[in-house]
């Protein structure tokens, strides 16, 4: 291996690492606010990439039907819950309408827009708008009523959700894999390195999102409310912060980040209905590196995972997954030596 190959591999690794960084941040965010270890984060990636791919063929993506089904179930639960509690009809009708309004609107818009053959960036925006509401719906259907359960139970719920979402992705997207077109076909040469326009977009989008997250948590009241919930759920609740809303908001953000990652990674590799799992888990390795608690460490870990994967696939391509996932073990060892506290429920 010479310097130029090393630098190409590094660039490759950093490009993927930037996407893993986004996923790692979503994982850290969700764990901090809701204590959910969200294994299915990668499913949102697949949803994003596949939705755009099907919009590219001018067809209505299966995402629409899945969104409508999940919305119907959530709305139904809202109504049942309202009637059981004996709440006045006006209130539960309003709650049901609030639940259903956005997903139904965006679904109708997509059904109209899909055959029109809009430009790529419009379809990308539509994809984001379509996949993001899944976050809140998944939280409502799977986690909300278990919000006070142990981390262990929430983790087992997560693998259940992972199973369900993967199976549903197969049902609604089919087994076929797609590779999306690049957002920007330009290529820049810097010495031996070639920087693709897509890589530039990945870097810019990741950087922008990280800055936005930073501003959101540091400067906005909502962000501070989420941080308060992360520190102490009960305390935040007593201060009038609804932990339910905090959960829904953070899941919505996670779904948005997942969908965006799907758009970014779509042009660099073929995505199948179950590809999200491994991609998400790589973000996970980075999040574990950060002890599921530090955003900057998660970003560093993610870049490390990306580079390790790039070099791994160069030296022993068949074993690149083995290398990446085995690397979590020394990371855990390092963490356990550094911070060996155990938890007391």
């Amino acid at each position: 291996m010479d310097f130029s190959i090393a630098s190409i591999l590094t660039l490759d690794g950093v490009t993927n690492g930037a996407i893993y960084a986004l996923l790692a941040m979503a994982t850290v965010l969700l764990f901090a606010v809701t204590r959910v270890i969200f294994i299915p984060q990668g499913e949102f990636v697949a949803f994003g990439a596949l939705t755009l791919a099907i919009l590219q063929t001018n067809q209505v993506p299966g995402t629409v039907w899945l969104l409508l089904i999940m919305t119907a179930v959530a709305t139904l639960l809202e109504v049942v819950h309202g009637i059981r509690r004996g709440a006045p009809a006006a209130r539960w009708l309003k709650a049901a309408a609030q639940t259903a309004a956005y997903p139904v609107a965006i679904s109708l818009l997509t059904i109209w827009a899909a055959p029109q053959g809009f430009p790529l960036w419009v379809q990308a925006l539509l994809t984001l708008a379509l996949v993001t509401p899944f976050g809140s719906l998944v939280y409502r259907l799977a986690y909300e009523s278990l919000a006070d359960a142990t981390v262990l139970v929430l983790l087992i719920v997560s693998v259940g959700v992972h199973f369900a979402l993967t199976g549903l992705a197969l049902l609604f997207f089919g087994a076929e894999g797609f590779r999306n077109p690049s957002f920007w076909d330009e290529r820049f040469s810097i010495g031996a390195l070639t920087l693709s326009g897509q890589a530039v977009i990945i870097f810019l989008a990741s950087a922008a999102l990280i800055v936005m997250l930073f501003l959101f948590f540091e400067r906005s009241l909502y962000g501070k409310a989420l941080r308060a919930t992360a520190v102490n759920r009960l305390g935040a609740r007593l201060m009038g912060i609804s932990s339910t809303n905090a959960g829904r908001l953070s899941f919505t953000m996670a779904a948005f980040i997942g969908a965006l990652s799907g758009l970014l990674i779509g042009p660099t590799t073929t995505i199948f209905y179950d590809s999200g799992f491994l991609i998400g888990l790589k973000g996970f390795v980075a999040a574990v590196f950060a002890g599921l608690s530090s955003y900057p460490l998660a970003a560093v870990g993610a870049l490390g995972v990306g580079v390790l994967e790039a070099f791994g696939s160069f030296w022993a391509s068949a074993f690149k997954e083995v290398i990446v996932f085995t690397s979590i073990l020394p990371v855990l060892l390092w963490r356990s030596l550094r911070d060996p506290h155990s938890d007391e429920e």
């Binding site: 981390v151 087992i156 259940g160 369900a164 574990v288 997954e321 855990l332 155990s342 938890d343």
Partner: protein, 592 residues
């Protein structure tokens, strides 16, 4: 033989008849798979339901067992009866490695590590030339048992179910033993178990290794049943499916594993036919149903389906009660007791800082053998923190503690417990699903020795009888003998506190530390408790007491230490303390 054992024997006899009673091959095969799956799920019951840990990597351990045996028996012609030993050695090594690097941290790192390990092993198996890559290993030989071929599904049925039922019985035996109580204490939080002298870390590792061993045995059986192995049955999704079986059946009970394995296997077969017809196309749609059912079960029936079976069976089978067979058991050994008046505990300027906050500020006091010392002070004075410093629950920032002439400051709480210091907790810490007697017997942990193998083979019965005799004696001492078969979770707060005292006494302590023992007790109960404590004192035991009930403290103690804002205010006899203006000021405030 009691009624439940008869049911078990009946089920075993029925199973033994099935292959010769002309049951169709299809159902024999199904039952073989159910047995194989149940062995793995059994490990998860131990891990998830009993110890509060979990693993997504059990399928990988199954794979390890299957591949090791398949490879050795095909490439090197090793007999399957030997390959299992090799497979177990490898499995235990891997499990130890995974457990030792994750279990010192919060419980959720173990499942994450097992997930990574499951993926790694899957891709390794799929890419290794000598393991046949994705095609796997074909032509794995059938097993033979003393010349009898186990090549047919019908004959193999016996091997699988003998192993499965023996494993179940061994786990049941284990759970009802000294080791089992220690394992069950893992779920009740680390502090209490450690205070009883249990190394929670070692037991977490132990449980994980046991679960891995069960998975490995299942894999070994699987390889010689299928006669071919390939990577797909050992993928991570299969690992999640095993967890699903355990949760669906009932993760808190051994038989839940069997119910879960049976239901999932039958359901899977039906869904694999039904769903592709319904949805068109092909693929593993059944995971949609599995995923949704898993979430629904955790929401609405977190104990799984077994409790419903149990309830139904409860109509005909009387609830099981421990047979009192320890009347003539020998007494447990007791430690040498300090002579009255000897310096027992010397607390020297202990200090605890949480960041900038000084919770305990250089507090010193001593306890001599045979004394009852009170530690009082307004809320937030640092009494409980001082308690935790003495018992090793919290590390000292500075200062030292000497117990019976030995420095104990800086030791782990279980090491301090081993030296004869025992405590109760301000918020009762017990195991609600165990009986009062079993909870108290947990206190005898350090006075007994039987390990896992002895427990599984029931070679520990003599020691168990001695333990229960001791536990009963301590319950009798505090007047709770009548309630010994009650579930601890059914006790009111007062009796629960008394039970904690009995548990502490069961450790045969030289010094007893009681954190608010009278809180929640009625007047009569308080009087009874003071009588018990006086009697203990007369027997030479020393007691350190944190208490808010002044009548109780003043009538009982020899000396009192008063704390305020983390600092020792005064120390003296109850009369001196009552007369002190500083103490009054601390409790009631001063006029300005």
């Amino acid at each position: 033989m009691n009624a439940r054992q008869m049911v078990l024997a009946g089920v075993a006899a029925l199973l033994a008849l099935l292959p010769i009673a002309g049951v169709p091959e299809f159902w024999i095969t199904q039952l073989n798979y159910i047995g194989l799956f149940a062995i793995v799920a059994l490990g998860l019951v131990l891990l998830t339901g009993v110890s509060g840990l979990t693993s997504f990597g059990q399928a990988a351990f199954v794979g390890l067992g299957a591949y090791t045996s398949a490879y050795l028996s095909t490439a090197h012609g090793v007999s399957p009866w030997l390959t299992i030993l090799v497979a177990l050695v490898i499995t235990v090594a891997v499990a130890l490695a995974l457990a030792s690097i994750t279990l010192r941290m919060s419980g959720h790192y173990l499942p994450l590590a097992t997930m990574a390990w499951g993926l790694s092993l899957y891709y390794t198996m799929s890419n290794m030339e000598f393991l046949g890559k994705y095609d796997g290993i074909l032509g794995v030989p059938a097993m033979e048992f003393f010349g009898i071929s186990l090549a047919s599904g019908r004959s193999y049925f016996y091997l699988i179910w003998v192993v499965a039922l023996l494993a179940a019985v061994a786990v049941i035996h284990l759970l009802d033993s000294r080791t089992g109580r220690a394992i069950r204490a893992l779920k009740g939080g680390v502090t209490m178990a450690e205070a009883m002298g249990i190394s929670t870390y070692s037991y977490k590792v132990l449980v994980f290794v046991l679960a891995a061993i069960l998975a490995c045995v299942s894999g070994w059986l699987f390889a010689h049943f299928q006669r071919t192995v390939n990577p797909s049955p050992f993928a991570i999704s299969k690992g999640i499916e095993y967890l699903f079986m355990a949760v669906l059946g009932g993760v808190g009970n051994v038989w839940g594993a069997f119910v879960g394995a049976g239901l999932v296997k039958l359901l899977e077969d039906q869904l694999q036919v039904l769903l592709p017809k319904l949805f068109g196309g092909s693929g593993n749609y059944e995971i949609i149903v599995f995923g949704i059912v898993l979430v629904v079960v955790l929401k609405y029936a977190p104990q799984g389906l077994w409790p419903f079976v149990e309830k139904l069976a409860g109509r005909w089978l009387p609830a099981q009660r421990r047979v009192r067979d320890w009347a003539d058991a020998a007494q447990l050994e007791e430690r040498s007791k300090p002579t009255p008046g000897e310096l027992l505990l010397d607390v020297q300027a202990v200090r605890k800082q949480f960041g900038g906050l000084v919770a305990v500020n250089d507090v010193s006091f001593t306890i001599r053998a045979g004394e009852i010392i009170g530690l009082i002070g307004p809320n937030g004075a640092g009494k409980s923190t001082t308690f935790n410093l003495i018992t090793g629950v919290l590390p000292l920032t500075a200062g030292n503690v000497t117990f019976r002439g030995e420095k104990v400051g800086g030791l782990a709480s279980r090491e301090i417990a081993r030296r004869g210091m025992s405590r109760t907790f301000q918020h009762v810490k017990m195991l609600p699903e165990m009986t009062v007697l079993e909870n108290v017997a947990l206190g005898g942990y350090l006075r007994s020795h039987a390990g896992v193998v002895k427990a599984m083979l029931r070679l520990d019965r003599d020691e168990e009888r001695r333990l229960f005799k001791e536990a009963e004696r301590q319950l009798e001492r505090i007047g709770m003998k009548d309630q010994m078969h009650e579930l601890a979770g059914n006790l009111a707060l007062g009796p629960a506190r008394l039970m904690e005292i009995a548990r502490a006494l069961c450790t045969d302590p030289a010094l007893l530390l009681l954190d608010e023992p009278a809180a929640g007790l009625r007047h009569k109960e308080k009087q009874a408790l003071s009588t018990v404590l006086r009697q203990l004192k007369a027997e030479g035991l020393s007691i350190l007491l944190v208490e808010h009930d002044m009548d109780f403290v003043m009538n009982l103690t020899d000396r009192i230490t008063v704390m305020e804002f983390g600092t020792k205010l005064i120390e003296g006899t109850p009369e001196e303390v009552q007369a002190s203006p500083a103490v009054r000021a601390a409790y009631l405030g001063t006029e300005h």
